[in-house]
């Protein structure tokens, strides 16, 4: 959905026409004229500042509308699947004769309980996304190299038996909310860990590139990857590219990544190839480029 564009086209001559008007009307000269022109320039700069703030608010509004629509889609689609299983298997159970031990009945009960758990997990996931959407950002300058090391150490401790070589150094600093950046890197590193699980010795690389107005960070792994056509679906909540039997999970991690990056006015994208690995990119506006 798009926001209707009500902006008038910019008029670069407005300031000079205003100057001419002031000169004509007042006949001022010398220091008084200079002061008025300075004041006019200040008004012009303030106007530009307000306008760029409005542009940013508009971008945020569009992002929030997209997030709202994705949320509504999840509630109407994804949460119905476990509910359908609960009603269906409960009804089939109710049709069964009572009293005797029955393996089929036990299986139906297990499906019902599992479905209730799935639905509860999905609701938790939606709640997490909705909190990240609303939470205030506390901007600070963040040493991304330090933060990435901390996050990698945490993930490593959770799976000490895994053999993963991590290469990371000299990442560009970021300007953002520390807790959210930690969560963002945590999700991407955990993701890389998970999808390299089949490799006896896996490699994860974190690098960054400095560009004119933004810094781009990349988390690369040599795991199972994904079909290039599937890249768009990765960041949508509950969309999973693998069957639960292959890789567990709810499909919320990368949706968290997208939410955090979007809130920081950055972009996320991914490149992959089935069988050879994946690259997850995110960009953040540079503090001196904004």
């Amino acid at each position: 959905m798009s926001v209707p564009d009500r902006e008038r086209p910019a008029d670069p001559d407005a300031t000079s026409r205003l100057r001419a008007l002031v000169e004509d009307a007042t006949g001022l000269s010398g220091p008084a004229k200079a002061r008025i022109f300075d004041a006019l320039a200040a008004v012009g700069a303030e106007f530009a500042r307000v306008r760029s703030g409005l542009d940013a608010s508009k971008a945020e509004l569009v992002a929030a509308t997209d997030a709202h629509e994705a949320f509504a889609y999840s509630v109407s689609h994804d949460l119905r699947a476990p509910l359908r299983a609960i009603d269906g298997f409960a009804r089939m159970l109710a049709e069964m004769p009572r009293g005797e031990p029955n393996a089929e009945a036990d299986r139906f009960l297990a499906v019902i309980c599992q479905s209730a758990k799935t639905m509860n997990d999905q609701l938790d996931g939606l709640l997490t996304l909705s909190r990240l959407e609303r939470q205030d950002l506390r901007y600070t300058t963040i040493d991304m190299t330090d933060l990435a090391h901390t996050v990698v150490d945490e993930v490593r401790r959770r799976e000490p038996a895994r053999c993963v070589t991590v290469s990371l150094a000299g990442l560009e600093p970021a300007f953002g909310d520390l807790a959210m950046m930690r969560r963002l890197l945590g999700e991407l590193v955990a993701n890389a860990w998970k999808f390299t699980r089949s490799r006896p010795a896996a490699t994860v690389e974190i690098v960054s590139h400095e560009r004119a107005t933004e810094n781009v960070y990349v988390v690369c792994d040599d795991g199972v990857g994904f079909a290039p056509g599937a890249a768009d679906r990765l960041f949508t909540a509950f969309r999973r590219l693998h069957a639960p039997a292959e890789f567990e999970g709810l499909g919320v991690g990368l949706a968290v990544v997208r939410t955090i990056v979007t809130r920081h006015r950055g972009r996320v994208w991914a490149e992959g190839e089935a069988g050879t690995g994946a690259k997850f990119y995110f960009s953040l506006p540079r503090l001196d480029g904004a």
């Binding site: 009603d87 269906g88 089939m92 079909a227 056509g229 599937a230 590219l241 693998h242 069957a243």
Partner: protein, 150 residues
Amino acid sequence: MLESKQAKLVTILLVEDNPADAELTQEGLKRAKVLNRLHLVEDGEEAMAFLHREGRYADAPRPDLVFLDLNLPKIDGREVLSMVKADPELEHIPIVVLTSSDADVDVMRAYKAKANCYVKKPVLFQEFLATIKVIDDFWLSVVKLPHDPA
């Protein structure tokens, strides 16, 4: 119940990643009492392999009807639909999109990709059974399906 006019056993390919939904659909077909042979695949990649008779599906029959979920692992159901309908060998096979989504964008996109019909899976079991039965009666008894010599 309508009387089955199909002379032979109909072959249905069910493309469904959610095991509970797959079982409920099978239960619905069983209760609808239409004779059918149901094949289940769990993602879009498997569905295409089945339809192209590749790998372990080398001996797979050509289905008379496909029940297709939209949100699938690997190749998405939307892509499966487009690929089947763009394939001269497969385009004649009727595809019933069977999904939880009732998003307008999904419905429109499915019909534009030449889905033969779009059905939203009801949440409640009795409605679900009734829906499967209506689909069955219509596609397997009322409708005359193309005869595939392959």
